[in-house]
């Protein structure tokens, strides 16, 4: 009776409980550190992406400004004067007007067999 009374019984339930608590705390701690690290990494990625986006936007603005300059009337005329762009004025007798349906001229043109007529601003006698 006495021997059985003094036997050291392992408190399995308590041990399991404490081990579970310890594991939970450890996991929570590790999880906290992991998520904190993730936040940091994602934050850095966001920062890098934002910087890239800003750079791209700036480059886009710069390129658009350059396109505006190069396609402006004054620039093109300067290049034309320099002979870089070769343009030949269209002669009056080479201008062909396509009559739009419904216009007065279309009705007149319909009477003629020719749908396309060379015209010029100087009206030629019929």
């Amino acid at each position: 009776m006495n021997r059985r009374k003094h036997t050291n019984i392992v408190p399995v339930a308590a041990l399991v409980r404490w081990v579970a608590v310890a594991i939970f705390l450890a996991a929570a701690g590790l999880g906290y550190v992991y998520f904190k690290n993730q936040m940091q990494t994602t934050g850095n990625e966001i920062r890098t992406m934002e910087a890239q986006l800003s750079t791209l936007r700036t480059q886009d603005d710069a390129v658009r400004a350059q396109i505006d300059r190069l396609s402006s009337h004054s620039y093109l005329q300067r290049r034309l004067a320099e002979g870089f762009i070769q343009l030949t004025p269209i002669r009056d007798d080479r201008i062909v007007r396509v009559h739009l349906p419904g216009s007065q001229a279309a009705a007149a043109a319909a009477e003629n067999t020719e749908d396309l007529q060379p015209v010029s601003n100087r009206f030629t006698a019929q």
Binding site: D61, A65, D68, S71, V119, R122, F123
Partner: protein, 589 residues
């Protein structure tokens, strides 16, 4: 355990408890009681308010061709508190920024947290400096985003587009008028940084996104503007006038298709010039089309004729005796440039008879005539969306002299702006409906959604459609071999218009001898106008016998009209037979 041991243990426990209580109290004091103070301190040390750039909106023409854009630049800013070695930083910065190294060291060593080192540094230069600083691990230099306003077409339409000052505020033109829409709104973000200066994204605070400025789309057509500017340059080279103005408008809507002034300026250069230069050239930057007023001369006769026809006091074929060129009224003689006897109302406009116009105005009477002048929009601002418009000067009848009823009909004793003149002619071309001149077509955001649009605004019906048609018929005669503006003819089209040759007013009183403001205002095709044009030259240098609206401004209108008609793809119409007879006008003898 002995008693003593128990006492010692108790004392130790109490001491520990007291110690931890002290720590706790201190923590509570730091974290709760003095939270604000330390949070502010931490924020000052590691926190930062980052400004987020909102770019200024664009100004484009009706076809979306750019008139004003932004070229990205950087402002180089230093934080003196983060610079460990100002000398090293100055060594890297001085060369590319073109700054004196010793002055730069002095600035950087001041320890201030916000030192602007240089503004408007090109993007490429900024990137180069950034790389160099990165290689040497120099902290404390930042590159703030900014933009330089550029005008790709240089001086073209400069008076309409306007320009900005160094503080990114619109000063003239659309830049000033629509500044509220064009201005981008900066955003901000509160951030925290670690010891090495990198942002801790997880600790971002309050944030407001920036908003880009809106795009302002004008009614101007750059292709027509280019035609106008080219012809204006040619005319200025030939006649060397003090000022020259050309406006093209669409009569049905009041849209301004082109507006050019001489002298002009390049808005790209305004920012780089010193204030003294800008003050000296303020006149060049003034949009004379809306801000300058002058006596209109004979172009004003159409107002007189339109009023008389609208009141059915006369018909186009009614005959008025023009006193054979000299009319004594109020003790003063009024002359015509040629002695005319009987003229029809139509011929009064065609031949530009001063006496005929005066008699028409007398038929109308002072009050009714004044009503028509105001009805056509003279004496009040047109309401165009451009800054600096003046209303002109039209005195009320109770302030008229006895001679006024004979002088005002031929465009004396009143002061009008070129825009008012063309707007009045637009009313005639538009069946008597006066439209508000419009320069802004719509305002859109960066996604293309319309924020504000400006539909045509009819101000009033000034004269009936019949009266407008009768005036138009008469104005057709002006641009015919028997009229005063045969040289304003545009091949293939019937043009209606009116010349004006007004003597320049002497600031000391009277008129300046030999100085004229010559003009031609017309529209084509006369029966279904696609556009109305005004050409005005102040003090053109030409032979005295050729200094008339029909001979100077008329041919310029003709060249512009021909090119514009071709650009607008207008269908040519049959022409009337030609004649070599050319009559010129001068109303002030």
């Amino acid at each position: 355990m002995t008693y003593c041991a128990k006492v010692r243990a108790l004392i130790a426990c109490c001491a520990l408890a007291l110690c931890f209580t002290g720590f706790s109290a201190r923590l509570v004091q730091l974290q709760v009681t003095r939270h604000e103070q330390y949070a502010a301190l931490a924020a000052e040390k590691h926190g930062n308010k980052q400004m987020l750039y909102g770019r200024r909106g664009l100004i484009v023409d009706i076809n979306q061709q750019t008139l004003a854009d932004n070229d990205p630049v950087r402002n180089v800013v230093a934080d003196g508190s983060l610079l460990a070695h100002p000398e090293e930083a100055a060594g890297v910065l001085a060369g590319p920024l073109g700054l004196d190294e010793s002055a730069l060291i002095e600035k950087l060593a001041s320890g201030r947290r916000y030192i602007v080192l240089k503004k408007d540094v090109p993007e490429a230069t900024a990137m180069e400096i950034e790389n160099r600083l990165s290689v040497r691990s120099i902290r404390g230099i930042t590159f703030e985003q900014d933009a330089e306003r550029i005008y790709p077409n240089g001086p073209m339409a400069c008076h309409v587009v306007g320009f900005m000052n160094g503080d990114h505020e619109g000063v003239e033109g659309i830049e000033a008028q629509e500044d509220e829409y064009l201005r981008g709104h900066e955003g901000f973000r509160y951030t925290e940084r670690d010891r090495s200066g990198n942002e801790l994204v997880a600790y971002r605070g309050e944030e407001r996104a920036p908003r880009d400025g809106y795009t302002v789309r004008l009614t101007l057509d750059l292709n027509l503007q280019n035609i106008v500017e080219t012809e204006l340059d040619t005319a200025c080279a030939e006649f060397k006038p003090k000022k020259a103005i050309v406006i093209l408008m669409r009569p049905q809507t009041g849209e301004i298709l082109a507006m050019a002034n001489r002298p002009n300026f390049d808005p790209n250069e305004v920012r780089t010039k010193p204030a003294a230069y800008i003050q000296a050239h303020e006149g060049d930057m003034m949009n004379c089309a809306i801000a300058d007023m002058m006596e209109p001369g004979s172009t004003f006769k159409m107002v007189t004729a339109a009023g008389a026809l609208n009141e059915h006091l006369v018909r186009p074929d009614s005959v008025i005796f023009c006193e054979n060129g000299a009319y004594n009224y109020g003790g003063r003689f009024l002359h015509d440039h040629h002695p005319f006897g009987d003229l029809t109302v139509e011929d009064i406009l065609v031949k530009s008879s001063n006496i005929g116009a005066a008699k028409l105005a007398m038929e109308l009477g002072e009050q009714r005539f004044y009503g028509y002048i105001r009805g056509f929009g003279f004496g009040e601002r047109t309401g165009v969306s451009l800054p600096g418009e003046v209303p002109g000067l039209v005195p009320p009848p109770h302030r008229w002299s006895k001679l006024s009823i004979t002088r005002i009909p031929m465009g004396q004793e009143v002061a009008v702006t070129p825009l008012q003149t063309i707007t009045a002619l637009c009313a005639v071309a538009n069946g008597g409906r006066l439209m508000m001149p419009q320069i802004v077509h719509d305002i859109t955001d960066d996604k293309g959604q319309v924020i504000a649009s400006f539909p045509p605004v009819e101000i009033r019906q000034v004269v009936s459609g019949d009266a407008a048609r009768e005036v138009t018929e008469a104005l057709k005669g002006v641009v015919s071999p028997r009229g005063t503006a045969a040289l304003a003819k545009v091949s293939g089209f019937v043009v209606a218009g009116k010349t004006g040759t007004a003597e320049k007013i002497d600031p000391k009183g009277g008129y300046l001898p030999g100085k004229y403001i010559v003009s031609f205002c017309g529209f084509l095709p006369a029966d279904n106008p696609a556009f109305v044009g005004l050409v005005m030259l102040d003090d053109a240098q030409t032979k005295p016998d050729q200094n008339y609206g029909g001979m100077v401004a008329g041919p310029i209108f003709s060249r512009i009209g021909e090119k514009a008609a071709r650009y607008l793809n207008l269908e040519p119409q049959p022409e009337e037979p030609e004649s070599d007879v050319i009559i010129t006008d001068r109303e002030h003898d």
